[in-house]
């Protein structure tokens, strides 16, 4: 009797689960057409290559419009905040979305995530790393952005965490070990300048935009105990940029820049960093780890510095217990003005599905993959642990535990953080650290 009960339960269960899976209608929006906008990036390369698969699965046609990097943000801002409706899915980042979500220009995706008729049962949203999910989740209260909320404003698509990357051929030649603290980094640079005078010790972004503080400074400052804003009762009450910890951090960091960075530092952006590290004109960098990954890829002509870039956690404050790492997330959002929200959502969940994330990673393009399951899959493990990638995989796993968004959600995030990068330029130029930070904090306080 028991056996028959189990047998029938099993059959019932499989029928129900098959029905449940079959319940999800991928072809609900067949025949629709959507516009997908993104910035030029290997991430979107991967998606575009797989678009035929998406079209076969859903019958939805996707018009992919790709724009130049850097200036894409201006176009994105205009399209989204004027509710032009030209785009149904837009690639963006966390911080720019803080700004556009305030005017209800983005769709809160939780309504789709919680709807079983709209989201496939094997989507598994919780498989995405927690720090990525929480970075994309906040509440909009009036005209302010409040962190730790419930609204889901975008799906992470691919992301970067910050590593210390170094040329193992240059450091290896002189038996130099990757430094662990910021002052050690400065000392390593001094040594490098003696033994390899033709090489810049450190490739660093210095351009007067917040993108140069979100890589190295944010990651290292956190281990000094620096915060961008002080919270009180869930609201931003003050800035932490002129705290004692911040002064100490900036003194060390400015000294490092003066010692280690190229003279072109005030204008250096990510492309100068990548070029310097790849060509061997610089020995180290603290920047997005997938730059190292991409330039380690073995290329058939052997012209890439394949295998020459190794990874380590970002440097810390002296005596700090843990290293910290900031993250930058490329995500996809849905502008509220889109008239094709259903098909758009289908595209978004496909683009971030387990299959696509793994496929994109195996192409070597959607790196770093956003899902835990991807990092645990045998295929990706095998691929990412090939000799030319050195310790990329292990360092990622080590760093990911501590990797989180350094910045506090805030509308108009850019104004204060850009000012921080300008202040950094002034300090490197010789202006006293305490005085500059006081002025910076003062101007930020005035806006809180």
């Amino acid at each position: 009797m028991k056996k028959i009960k189990i047998f029938f339960s099993a059959i019932l269960f499989s029928i129900i689960s098959t029905l449940a899976l079959a319940d999800f209608d991928w072809k609900k929006y067949a025949g629709e057409k959507i516009v997908f906008a993104y910035d030029i990036h290997p991430y979107v390369d991967a998606l575009v290559e797989k678009l035929p698969e998406f079209e076969a699965l859903t019958g939805i046609k996707v018009d992919a419009q790709i724009f130049p990097d850097d200036v894409y943000w201006n176009k994105l801002n205009l399209e989204i905040t004027t509710d032009s409706g030209a785009w149904d899915v837009a690639g963006t980042g966390v911080q720019p979305t803080w700004d556009t979500s305030v005017g209800n220009h983005n769709v809160d995706l939780s309504k789709f995530l919680n709807d079983p008729t709209m989201t496939s049962p094997d989507y598994n949203y919780n498989d995405i790393y927690p720090s990525l999910r929480s970075a994309m989740t906040w509440d909009v209260k009036g005209e302010e952005v409040v962190g730790n909320g419930k609204g889901v404003w975008g799906l992470p698509h691919s992301f970067e965490n910050m590593n210390l990357m170094y040329r193992n051929d240059i450091l290896g030649k002189h038996n130099i070990k990757p430094p662990k603290t910021l002052p050690e980094l400065t000392a390593t640079c001094k040594k490098l300048k003696q033994v390899e005078p033709g090489i810049t010790p450190m490739a660093l972004r210095g351009v007067n935009f917040w993108s140069s503080v979100h890589t190295a400074p944010a990651s290292i400052a956190k281990s000094y105990g620096v915060v961008d804003y002080v919270m009180k009762d869930g609201k931003i009450s003050d800035t932490g940029l002129d705290s004692k910890a911040s002064i100490k951090f900036h003194k060390d960091y400015v000294a490092m820049v003066q010692e280690c960075a190229a003279k072109s530092w005030p204008n250096d952006n990510w492309y100068q960093v990548v070029d310097a590290l790849t060509s061997g004109n610089a020995a180290m960098a603290v920047d997005a780890n997938m730059f190292g990954f991409w330039n380690n890829i073995k290329d058939p002509d052997g012209k890439n510095p394949s295998g020459k870039i190794s990874f380590a956690p970002p440097p810390t404050a002296p005596g700090a217990k843990n290293f910290e790492s900031n993250i930058w997330i490329w995500c996809i959002t849905m502008p509220s003005a889109s008239k094709k929200q259903g098909p758009a959502w289908y595209f978004m969940q496909w683009a971030t599905s387990q299959k696509m994330v793994l496929d994109g990673a195996m192409m070597g393009k959607m790196v770093n993959p956003i899902r835990k399951s991807t990092w645990e899959s045998d295929d990706w493990k095998k691929y990412a642990n090939q000799p030319e990638f050195n310790n990329y995989y292990d360092t990622f796993m080590e760093v990911q535990d501590r990797a989180a968004l350094f910045f506090t959600p805030r509308y108009g995030f850019g104004e204060a953080m850009n000012a921080w990068s300008v202040a950094m330029q002034e300090m490197v130029n010789g202006r006293p650290v305490e005085e500059t930070l006081k002025e910076l904090a003062g101007s930020i306080r005035a806006g809180i």
Binding site: P42, F67, P68, K75, T82
Partner: protein, 285 residues
């Protein structure tokens, strides 16, 4: 006497050479960069003699036609933007010539009451930078449905090309002695006849130069194409798409620049024969 003459010419030749080197060098350097490997681009001391490689051009073409393995399957669509630039800049100049030359003629010859004000008004459109008007322009274009169309782009480019054509025509016409036209008018010719048969031939070198200049300035424009177009964006926008983290962008961008230079350089060389024959207005007498 003979010695003096040679010395002066020699000195002048030297000056010309010096000026030519300064003018050409950056272009030459970019051309060299397009043939270098990524590591050679920022090498110190800079490399002038090296083994050139066509790899970067291969990457550019691969990216343009898609299907390549290493550099992504996404089409950067590099050649279509060049076509867009030609159509938009060329179209804008042609439209400006058609409506601008008569307007410039009027500014030079007529004397009605608000002439100088209108002239200044026309000029005034260049005063405003793009960002001042970009949001209203954005709405304006969206509502009219002319975003990302050649029509819309050629129309908005008139702000760049038309004032210059009008004013340059005015300046050149003012240099032509008025007697010729007055004679024609007395004989009963209408204004179109005067413009096309008398003024235009005399204006030709100046106009060719002006058209070239205005074409090049329109070619330069970046912001209008970025913000008001997507598929019809000009090559200045497409060039920046080459900043892809997956490739050796410095040399590949240099390749893109070299290729996008071909059309303007061709036009310059085609047009410059109009300058060689020095047309002296004095001959009109």
């Amino acid at each position: 006497m003979k010695l003096n003459f040679n010395l002066k010419n020699f000195f002048l030749n030297l000056l010309v050479l010096f000026a030519a080197i300064i003018i050409i060098f950056p272009i030459f350097w970019i051309f060299l960069m397009s043939l270098k490997s990524s590591a050679q681009v920022m090498e110190w001391p800079p490399v002038f003699i090296f083994e050139p490689t066509l790899d970067n051009y291969k990457v550019l073409f691969d990216m343009s036609s898609a299907g390549s393995s290493n550099y992504g399957t996404i089409r950067i669509n590099f050649f279509e933007p060049i076509l867009n630039s030609i159509i938009i800049s060329g179209g804008a100049v042609i439209v400006s010539l058609i409506i601008g030359i008569p307007a410039g003629y009027i500014l030079a010859r007529s004397n009605f009451k608000f002439k100088e004000d209108i002239g200044f008004f026309i000029l005034g459109f260049r005063f405003a930078p793009l960002i001042l008007v970009i949001i209203p322009m954005f709405y304006f274009f969206s509502i009219l449905g002319i975003k990302d169309t050649y029509f819309g782009m050629i129309w908005v480019y008139q702000v760049i090309t038309l004032p210059m054509i009008i004013w340059l025509t005015r300046v050149y016409v003012e240099d032509i002695p008025i007697e010729l036209e007055e004679a024609a008018f007395v004989e009963g010719a209408n204004v179109f006849h005067v413009i096309s048969k008398i003024i235009l031939p005399l204006l030709r070198p100046g106009l060719v130069g002006a058209s070239l200049l205005v074409f090049l300035l329109a070619w330069h424009n970046f912001a209008l194409g970025l913000l008001l177009a997507s598929k019809k964006a000009p090559v200045t926008v497409a060039l920046l798409k080459l900043l892809n983290p997956g490739i050796n962008f410095y040399p590949v961008m240099a390749c893109g620049l070299v290729i996008s230079m071909i059309v303007p350089i061709l036009l310059i060389f085609l047009g410059q024969k109009h300058f060689v024959k020095g047309l002296t207005f004095g001959a009109v007498k």
